[in-house]
Amino acid sequence: MAENVYDAIVVGSGISGGWAAKELSEKGLKVIMLERGNDVKHVKDYVNATKGPWEFPHRGGRTQQMINDYPVLKRDYPLNETNLDFWTNDKDCPYTEKKRFDWYRGYHVGGRSLMWGRQSYRWSAIDFEANAKDGIAVDWPIRYNDVAPWYDYVEKFAGISGNKDGLAILPDGQFMPPMDMNCVEKDVAARVKEHYKGQRMITIGRVANITQPLPGRSACQYRNKCWLGCPLGAYFSTQSSTLPAAMKTGNLTLRPFSIVTKVLYDKDKKRATGVEVLDAETNQTYQYTAKIVFLCASSLNSTWVLFNSATDVWEGGLGSSSGELGHNVMDHHFRCGAGGQVEGYDDKYYFGRRANGIYIPRFRNLGNEKRDYIRGFGYQGGASRQGWRRDVAELSIGADFKEALTEPGPWTMGAGAFGEILPYHDNQITLDKDKKDKWGLPVLSFDCEIRENEKKMRLDMMEDAKEMLEVAGLKNVKSFDNDYAMGMGIHEMGTARMGRDPKTSVLNKNNQMWDAPNVFITDGACMTSAACQNPSLTYMALTARAADFAVKELKKQNL
């Protein structure tokens, strides 16, 4: 069927897929982007974006019906009334947990680019060198300098606001003007800087909310309702940014409700010929052919597609010749840190809802320091005045109580750490052929956990936060560990890693499959290690880089 022939197929429409579609279509390729879920139209489909809190019947909370319908999502904050439609229905799309794994997914056009946390940090030189230095897993086949120009490139387009801090551990980028820290954060930052003599520092979060307009997008208006979809396009999402750019070329076709079930593989040519699609609405099967395929279905789903592909050649699927397909599942472990009370500043307040917080870059295991674990963590947090939810112990009920709660309470400040999880071969996903989803497709089975290195790190994640807040003069500082299960970070990485050797990696230095050079995987699946920074910016950079490489190779007729 001629109408199913394209130059390039992009599987998935989230952050990575959107970038792939934009880059490939702008370079003149005829592209189809296949999205398994429904369409979400920019602005029009952000149905809750302009509602006041009172317009939600349960004021944003959850009902017993929701709890029953979303057995996975209910485990943490994502299950809520305000953007329920953006989260995947757990019952339609089940999976198997040999060990607990919290998989919070977004199956619709834009994927999790609509709900993401938007924190955008570059990796540093030591992150790409870490595996080689520590002698674990395999070495990254690329270094910071390979990616740096692509960070520049994607930051300019996506729009990242942030402060240039001149740190080797957290390289500066092409930033728009930073958001402000509030007065408490500024003073705490100054005290921390002084006490640790610059070895630890607090900066404003680098965030994909724009502080100056870009074409078709307004600057952030400080509504802090990002995850309902932004009618102003003030944060980077597929809808606000990459999709309109790709559509403008006239080269992109977007097909929602298209579950890619496998990559079609020609074993004689050792090339992919296209993909097979199951229409999620009609259950009809279609084939799409193309010269190149970009798998950007989200880390674990890209690998799921590979498990189902070329099984006549490799029982474990395309990419399994490495012995690493499905292995090395990573995430960021978090939900621990510290918080406390700030005395004074009763005559200070703030205006606007800043969709951002402060960031404390990694400071552990740098230089010659050696803790009893390797790698490190960064903190996200912020200071604010308490609101009506605070406990006013001395008051009971009535007019005085009401009046007290209508005024802001004392200042508090907290910091929660995000820590690196090592790439353990034994942390793996496999195909569970006995369990089927709504469409009769086999599901993933998870066998992953954090281990000694992460558990030891969590102690520092708590204690260091406590120490810094105490140094800054906070009172009643309490550390906490609210427990973490893999997946909760919603930073799934690994399972089809990059490397230097086809025997131990699935992808080469250009995100190209060793076993099928015209297949590229540029979502989190490609990650060889996890660092501790939020990963999406790196997916953007790697995607743009791989797309550039792929088109050059096509022109050289190498694919």
Binding site: Y222, G352, R353, R354
Partner: protein, 190 residues
């Protein structure tokens, strides 16, 4: 709420979590209350809950809980969001609170005047705080904690509560991290 906020809420140790069909009726105050069971709340129940909520958050220079229709909100939350066990405690609590009024004043809660209602709830609130202090994890929640929590949630997230008792800016347009504050200025609703 985004993740950073969720994280900071935990880390900031802000209070506890909320334990977790519109009718409206004004002015009807049946003097006698019959004990009821189940969660088929009727307009009489809503009127009664409105009065409880109004005693917790009364009208002052700004609207109170009744104007914000907190009674109806409470019934929605109990029906939709409460577990069965808590639904039962809530309903029985409605009966218990009225019985406490009968015992103290020899009249129903709705027959009691505003001062009596206030005094009674101060007393029950004190008992509740005492109970919560000694409560073990799996012990029942106290019904008055539910009343109070739902009243605060319902009121401060209502249009009246958020925009009149508190301040709400739909589109602030800018962030200023350091502005002067003087005692009496209202807090931001969100």
């Amino acid at each position: 709420m985004n993740r950073r906020e969720a994280v900071s809420r935990v880390s900031l140790l802000l209070g506890g979590t909320i334990i977790g069909a519109n009718f409206f009726l004004e002015g009807c105050k049946p003097a006698d209350r019959k004990d009821k069971t189940g969660i088929a709340f009727d307009q009489e129940d809503i009127a009664y809950l409105d009065e409880i909520a109004e005693t917790i958050i009364p009208q002052t220079t700004t609207p109170g809980a009744k104007a914000a229709k907190v009674g109806a909100f409470m019934t929605v939350m109990v029906k939709d969001s409460y577990e069965e066990k808590d639904q039962k405690i809530f309903r029985e609590g409605m009966n218990k609170l009225n019985a406490a009024s009968e015992k103290k004043y020899d009249k129903s809660f709705l027959e009691a005047d505003a001062k009596q209602r206030h005094d009674l709830l101060v007393e029950i609130d004190g008992e509740t705080k005492e109970y919560q202090k000694n409560k073990k994890k799996d012990d029942d929640n106290h019904y008055f904690r539910m009343f109070k929590e739902l009243t605060l949630l319902g009121f401060f997230t209502s249009k009246e509560g958020a925009t009149e008792a508190l301040r709400y800016e739909e589109t602030p347009g800018r962030y200023d991290g350091c502005i002067p504050y003087k005692k009496g200025d209202r807090a931001w609703a969100t």
